[in-house]
């Protein structure tokens, strides 16, 4: 079956989109539309009292997109849990993309605090999608803690480098019993396709869309890249080989 199932919901798109860094809400919406995504993440921040901006929610059609609040900004489990609860209080469904990034520079996830927060949030009934380093053993711990997915990074956020953690991701995919969503670092449709060809269940993209000259068209490009990779995975890719192999029959009339 070609639907993506996370917790009790199914999705026909295997591409998730983060809503950060777009030049405008229009660009963001165009990219979401183009991408065909069904899940978009949002962050929680303080209202600027003196100059309140309109909420991003007024730009996202919640009948079309599942809002997935993230805990970006959280530096430890406690902050992440606090953000998740606030998001739920805001009327979102109890889904959360769990991000715990103590290092404000590289924004790499904290394995210890992420697991701790996941254990708390799962108990509180959240559907938890944790963002993690490409660590197969950590992925197993989170799975055992009851997370709905694991979201290993392909490369550090915003680097556009692609699936640089290929070996580890392959092991995670082989061992996981929950959907594996490759998150962060996918900078081109070929990167998304590669992750899907490896057997990832889905990918999450943001920077590559937000910085594109044409975010709408880039959304489409990623949609096709994800579908291409998924279909190739299902159609059965050939092995890589050391030796060349002709694609023409070599016996011929040229030399008797």
């Amino acid at each position: 079956m070609n639907e993506l199932k996370i917790a009790d919901r199914t999705f026909s798109s295997r591409l998730l989109v983060d809503t950060g860094k777009f030049s405008s809400n229009a660009a963001m919406v165009a990219s979401m539309e183009g991408s065909g995504c069904e899940i978009v993440t949002v962050a929680l921040r303080r209202v600027d009292i003196d100059n309140p901006k309109d909420s991003i929610l007024s730009h996202i059609d919640r009948t079309k997109y599942l809002l997935l609040p993230n805990t970006s900004g959280a530096r430890d489990a406690e902050e992440a849990v606090r953000l998740a609860r606030l998001a739920r209080a805001a009327g979102c469904e109890p889904w959360v993309k769990l991000e715990v990034t103590p290092d404000p520079y590289y924004l790499l996830p904290d394995p210890i605090e992420t697991l701790k927060a996941a254990q708390i949030l799962v108990k509180e009934g959240f559907v938890v999608l944790p963002y993690i380093n490409a660590d197969p053993v950590l992925a197993k711990h989170l799975q055992e803690a009851g997370t709905a997915t694991v979201m290993p990074l392909g490369a550090p956020i915003g680097t556009n480098r692609g699936v640089r953690t290929r070996d580890q991701i392959a092991i995670i995919i082989e061992q996981a019993t929950v959907p594996v969503i490759v998150d962060a670092g996918l900078g081109a449709p070929s990167h998304a396709a590669e992750a899907m060809e490896m057997g990832a269940d889905a990918v999450l993209v943001n920077t590559a869309l937000a910085v594109a000259r044409d975010p709408g068209k880039m959304g489409e490009a990623f949609r096709k890249g994800v579908e291409a990779g998924r279909e190739a995975y299902l159609a059965g890719l050939g092995e890589q080989r050391e030796k060349a192999e002709s694609s023409s029959p070599l016996t011929g009339f040229l030399r008797d």
Partner: protein, 72 residues
């Protein structure tokens, strides 16, 4: 009437503020925030939206008013 006269000092999103409004709902109105689009913490505990109107503020209370923004 009387109430109007009694001003109190509270903190909103880290900024000290003087106000004469007595409820969370009134404060939101004062700063033109529609309740539907924000989440409020009163003294570090989440305040359910349907309690905004009946929750009155006291001197020294700390409010956190947050909303969703783009971000991954």
């Amino acid at each position: 009437m009387l109430k109007e006269r009694q001003a109190m000092r509270i903190t909103i999103n880290g900024q000290p503020r003087e106000t004469t409004r007595s409820t969370v709902a009134a404060i939101l109105q004062e700063i033109n925030l529609s309740p539907e689009r924000v989440v409020v913490e009163l003294n570090r505990s989440i305040l359910p939206r349907d309690l905004f109107a009946e929750t009155s503020l006291s001197e020294g209370d700390a409010l956190e008013i947050v909303q969703f923004v783009g971000g991954g």
